[in-house]
Subunit: 221 residues, 2 copies
DNA sequence: AACCGGGTCCCCCGCGCGGGGGACTCCCGA
DNA sequence: TCGGGAGTCCCCCGCGCGGGGGACCCGGTT
């Protein structure tokens, strides 16, 4: 089973270099070479190669845009490997979000590019080590469990409940209705919450709650 | 400059196998072999190798716990590579959170383990491709949510600016002072923002802004 | 020329909110 | 037995806020 590959880069020199690398591998077949992103999208749709290797910087449509178009097609089965000279974080995030199978620097040794191709073809993914480092850093904080601020321990269960409703932008009257209590009661709870947390008003409470993960941020993403 | 390595695995067979691999590289020196996590922590503290290769499943203290202890020491300069047979997602997250430089499967070809060592030693990071795939999926959704809601386009630049300050829980008077305008002006902007976004009051605006990523969530985590 | 959108400033009015009190039930622990 | 915390409900008062108007200046388009 040979792997079919599409090559997209606006430098003919680099294309032929990569093609030469591929030719050393009997099971790799470069079925197309294109020089811009738009051509990459149409050729991928036509030839349906196993893997498309795209440069990020290309005329007409850059590699990121091409990736997004290619992978947004549900009929598509081609994996995308992105190549770049510089590793801007923004590039990486956009690439991963689009669903790219790899994000590699052009400084990569040829044999590793080959192995990256095979990795992508079997559905796995691969990120350049120098990028991975920063990715981990950012990923770790985004995964970090909400570091429940100690002040929250001061609140009673009822007060936390009210705080969450305040954070959801409910008015005192609405909270009263939801909890089946009088609105004077809610006012008391809110006042206590503000006092215990050292917050000025419910607006600060909303901001506090959101920044401390008390409310499910963006459930609709 | 030779790289010093510590090897931690409870199977003597596997240790000797890896050691054999290292010995093929003149610039790699295996300075210690240990069979459990606790020994790994103490030996790393004593010998300060460049890289520690830890199995996840080990007696007394597993590789994850050992990683956390090693990397929580601020004086530590050793990089940690984790090895495992099975790639549980939970393992990966904990490993990355602890700051590991690599997460590899034992099925990795020997020569790639070598290159992983060098990658880690120079401060970069490396994740096994099969794991990377799922990591990207999860990472993408966790990073995805700046899909700027279309309603935001209705706002003028000034109005967005005011909205961000509202989201930061500033009062109208405070915003006026920050922007060097009258507070009546701020009231006008806020009113327009609420009207354009269909929000009831500034409390809803705060919640809206936070849920749509207009404000940097937990900057202090 | 007239027009319009963005930014700025001003008025009045009503209401929700938050702080200051107080009071009454529970229930748990001293 | 007597606290005392938690939860509930009530009063009054002041103020920030948001909606309703209107007004002015400026830069661009028509």
């Amino acid at each position: 089973m040979t792997l079919t590959v599409l090559l997209a880069d606006d430098h003919a020199m680099l294309r032929s270099g990569m093609r030469a690398i591929f030719d050393t591998q009997p099971d790799l077949e470069c079925v197309a070479e294109v020089a811009d992103g738009r051509a990459a999208v149409t050729e991928v749709a036509r030839l349906r190669p196993d893997v498309a290797v795209l440069d990020i910087r290309m005329p007409k449509l850059d590699g990121l845009g091409a990736t997004e178009q290619i992978l947004s097609d549900p009929a598509n089965r081609t994996k995308v490997l992105l190549l770049t000279t510089y590793d801007s974080d923004e590039y990486v995030y956009r690439a991963l979000k689009a669903g790219a199978s790899g994000f590699l620097l052009k400084s990569l040794p040829p044999e590793e590019l080959i192995s990256a191709l095979r990795v992508a073809a079997r559905g796995d993914a691969l990120i350049d080590p120098s990028v991975t480092q920063r990715l981990i850093a950012r990923f770790a904080v985004s995964l970090a469990p909400p570091p429940t601020p100690p002040q929250l321990a001061l609140l009673t269960a009822r007060e936390r409940e009210v705080l969450q409703l305040v954070a959801a932008a409910y008015s005192n009257a609405e909270i009263a209705a939801l909890l089946h209590v009088g609105d004077e009661t809610v006012k008391t709870h809110v006042s206590r919450v503000l006092a215990k947390l050292g917050l000025r008003d419910r607006v600060h409470a909303v901001a506090f709650a959101h920044m401390n993960g008390l409310v499910q941020a963006r459930p609709t993403s």
